[in-house]
Amino acid sequence: MKPRRVLAITRRIFAQFRHDRRTLALLFVVPLVILSLLYYLLRGGGGQPAVGVVNLDNGPLGAVVARQLESSSQVKASQIDLTTAQSRLRDDRLAGYIVLPTNFSSDALQQGVLRPEVHLEGSQPAQSGTVLQALSQSLLAALGTLPSQPGLRPPRLDLRVTYLYGGPQLDTLDYFGGAFIGLVVFFLVFVITCVAFLRERSQGTLERLMASPLRRGEIVLGYMLGFTILALIQAAEVLLFSLYVLKVHNSGSVLLIFAFEALMALSAVNLGIFLSMFARTEFQAVQFIPLVVAPQLLLSGVIFPVSSEPTWLQAVSRALPLTYVVDGLRDVMLKGADLSWAAIQLDAAVLGGFCVLMIVAAGATLRRRVA
């Protein structure tokens, strides 16, 4: 072993990096971006489910519990009236609301029973858990403020929980399953298309295609069809496996789920073709993967609900196609949404628009890279 020969390799690698600014940027900029995103997602006020508190209690205890909830760091609680709470729950603006009924105090003091009602949105098990946890902590804290009466047992908790969608039987897989069906297909299709189209350039066959009567649109469309068909077969396989082998919960139409996956596969294929125009080597194309994957994984609502993000990050999320895929798939699978839902129509329309945009962009860049 000769140190000089070892160092020759090391030095060559640094020389290569010096010529490859893009890789350097990837190495040093992307981690900071990803960590900052995480910071904003977790510390920037995001992550806390929004909770409504409806205090109807005639006695004093309800107000104490409400105040405890409002100061809880686990949830973003605010006092509202019942009708507002009900409509906000349906609009997806609340993870749940808590009703402290008229005789909440008297029940607690005379019968020794705490009877809060909890109405949960229910499609997000983690959020539901947080709400229940915050409530029980607030109840404990509220009881602690009462003057202690010797001989009196601490009141028993009689919790009534209802779910707008799903229910306690929904587990984390049910929640993530829908999103991951989309995620897996999107990224695999994107990567494969991107690299395949790039190979066309690097092996010189694109030059031949350009020297043939093929129009750019025909090339893009041909690619799109080929890879979309592959992607649809993959999507069907993933879907059937998730629903029937893994038994991921689904309350909606399987066909609608598949339609969403089809739209998404289309946008992934075209995104792949579009981005492959900006890479000269397969190595560079591979670098697009973290750039496309990381922000979408964090911001599309797969892990952290978009509604829990700081406002400016929500704007970013709404620019990502996967956000609409995840939202649509969850609406269908967890809430049983169908085509008549405005939310579903919106998701589908945005995805369709994204597909068209990508097709046009892919065609346009193909033209530019030839001259």
Binding site: Q203, T205, A211, S212, P213, L214, V370
Partner: protein, 240 residues
């Protein structure tokens, strides 16, 4: 214009630079129908760029290109042109026949697959995957893909580079055969001894056409015995 009928291609005063790198600095040439025209020049002299201009793949900064009577770029002419790229650009994971069928299909002419295979002596290897072929076979397969749609004008970019002497001779026989059948061929090369087999030669250097004519004419013009000397003689004193 009736005069154009005899010309398969007309390049007039074409200038092209890539950034600050001049590739063509005012090239004019005419390809007569049915001739074998040799474009002779060292590496980097602008041969590939000129061919890409003929195909409309490169937009000249100045000058014009007419091919088969049409001003380029024109997609509709492209099905009448065959193009063999400098390196054998094929799909390495497909078989010879699959490649051939694909290039025939995008030119809208799938009738002559076996004929094209026979022409390049690959009729016994249609099902070989291209990646497993030898370099010479790959070149032949690439040629087959360029001629499968029976083009009127065939542009071959250094087709005989890295090819053994037997195959080289065989290829030149085939080029001759195609020209006799009425096809116009433009063949670029940086090898002088092959050039003797062209009807006319153009000597290109630094993006300029230095001289043009038959082999004899060029030797005469330079007053030397060998074509190689003629090339050196004619390019001497050329400014960069």
């Amino acid at each position: 214009m009736a005069a154009q009928e005899d010309h398969a291609a007309e390049v007039t005063g074409v200038v092209k630079s890539f950034g600050r790198q001049a590739a063509l600095q005012g090239v004019s040439l005419r390809l007569r129908r049915g001739e074998v025209y040799g474009l002779l020049g060292p590496n980097g002299s602008g041969k590939t760029t000129l061919i890409r201009c003929l195909l409309g793949l490169v937009k000249p900064d100045a000058g014009s290109v007419r091919v088969l009577g049409r001003l380029m770029p024109d997609l509709n002419v492209l099905s009448r042109i065959g193009y063999m790229t400098q390196t054998a650009a094929l799909y390495p994971d497909l078989t010879v026949l699959e490649n051939l069928r694909f290039f025939a299909a995008i030119n809208g002419a799938e009738a002559h697959l076996t004929e094209a295979l026979r022409f390049v002596d690959l009729e016994d290897r249609p099902d070989s995957v291209v990646a497993t072929l030898s370099g010479g076979m790959r070149t032949r397969a690439s040629l087959a893909c360029a001629i499968v749609h029976r083009p009127e004008l065939l542009l071959l970019d250094e087709p005989t580079v890295g090819v053994d002497p037997q195959l080289r001779r065989r290829l030149w026989d085939q080029f001759r055969e195609m020209a006799d059948g009425g096809t116009t061929l433009l063949i670029s090369s940086h090898v002088m001894d092959e050039a003797e087999r062209c009807q006319r030669l153009g000597l290109i250097r630094f993006g300029r056409l230095l001289a043009e004519g038959t082999v004899e004419e060029l030797k005469e013009q330079a007053g030397v015995e060998k074509l190689e000397d003629a090339f050196l003689q004619l390019s001497a004193g050329e400014p960069r």
